[in-house]
Symmetry: C2
Subunit: 187 residues, 2 copies
């Protein structure tokens, strides 16, 4: 079974995180929501719009080898926290060094850039591209694949982003079944 | 400020609930997530895909007069719980009697039918229409308005459903700003 780590920082964009996780779990992917607190029991994280999620574990309690991919939701507050958190930055560098997949949506490619893992063929939230300030931004695609790095634009593309992850980690049959079942004809 | 009650039962469809709440809060609507436990401190609710949300209050601690609208997320587990919960059924009947707006997405129109508030012009999840088993199902629209009753189809239409609620409770300018800001051109 494929497994994915989704770090959640205070201020994360709720629909981006939940859309990706919902789609991935429907595809049979084992998803771990990782909070950024050292105390693993301190597991509630509140997003940009005041929605609080219960995370599964602390990012300090997980190891890169247990996952096939790490995926970052956006939201500026959450993104800045992910970019400034040493543990998350170390995880991103480890996933990259081990040639594992890395994903980021909306503002979160900023945190990939900070870790030095963002290539020159990516997308992000259109309103964030100046702050990401990195060559290779694509405005024409909902999801951009560049080697092992998968990026997407924002809330309206989060379900499609989840689908593209399922296609890669599980397969095209699961992708198509979820696309039909969730009424995602626009993806 | 407009205010909306969103009852959350175990087994709710996470992306539907979170998408609607995210959009509504971006529109400045005061949204209360209501869990179905009598103890108001027992406020964690787990959805169909294992994502746990923290609710704001118990449905037993809120009153109809404090809200402009009640909106039900789908997911079969959550829908059956909403249909069988006497407090939620009473709330639906009160909102209807006071000519307040009522919304439901995916399987949740089943809970409106149980309360006797579903009219003969509605939509729901295509795979749920036989269990809803009510005349007036529309397959051609993402969101159907029938007087004060607003219904929608499923996960892929939840963001659009939230937008339509914002259009009605807040206004078209807010609707358009959120549609652009969340990249919801497909709505």
């Amino acid at each position: 079974m494929a497994s994915v780590l989704v770090p959640l920082a205070e201020g994360f964009e709720e629909v981006e995180a939940v859309a990706m996780v919902d789609v991935m779990r429907r595809g049979g992917i084992e998803v771990t929501l990782g909070h950024l607190n050292v105390d693993s029991a301190d597991d509630l994280v509140t997003g940009a719009n005041g929605i609080t999620l219960k995370a599964d574990n602390s990012v300090y309690e997980v190891i890169t080898d247990d996952f096939d991919m790490i995926v970052l939701p956006g939201g500026w507050g959450g993104t800045h926290a992910l970019a400034e958190n040493e543990r998350v930055q170390t995880l991103l560098k480890e996933f990259n060094a081990k040639d594992k997949r890395i994903g980021a949506i909306c503002a979160a490619p900023f945190a990939l850039k900070k870790a030095g893992v963002l290539g020159n063929n990516y997308t992000c939230y259109p309103g964030s591209k100046d702050e990401v300030n990195h060559p290779g931004y694509r405005s024409d695609l909902k999801v951009v694949e560049d080697g092992k790095i998968l990026t997407s634009q924002g809330p309206g593309t989060a379900l499609c982003f989840g689908l593209e992850i399922v296609k890669r980690l599980v397969g095209v049959e699961s992708y198509q079944a979820i696309k039909n079942g969730m009424l995602l004809g626009f993806c």
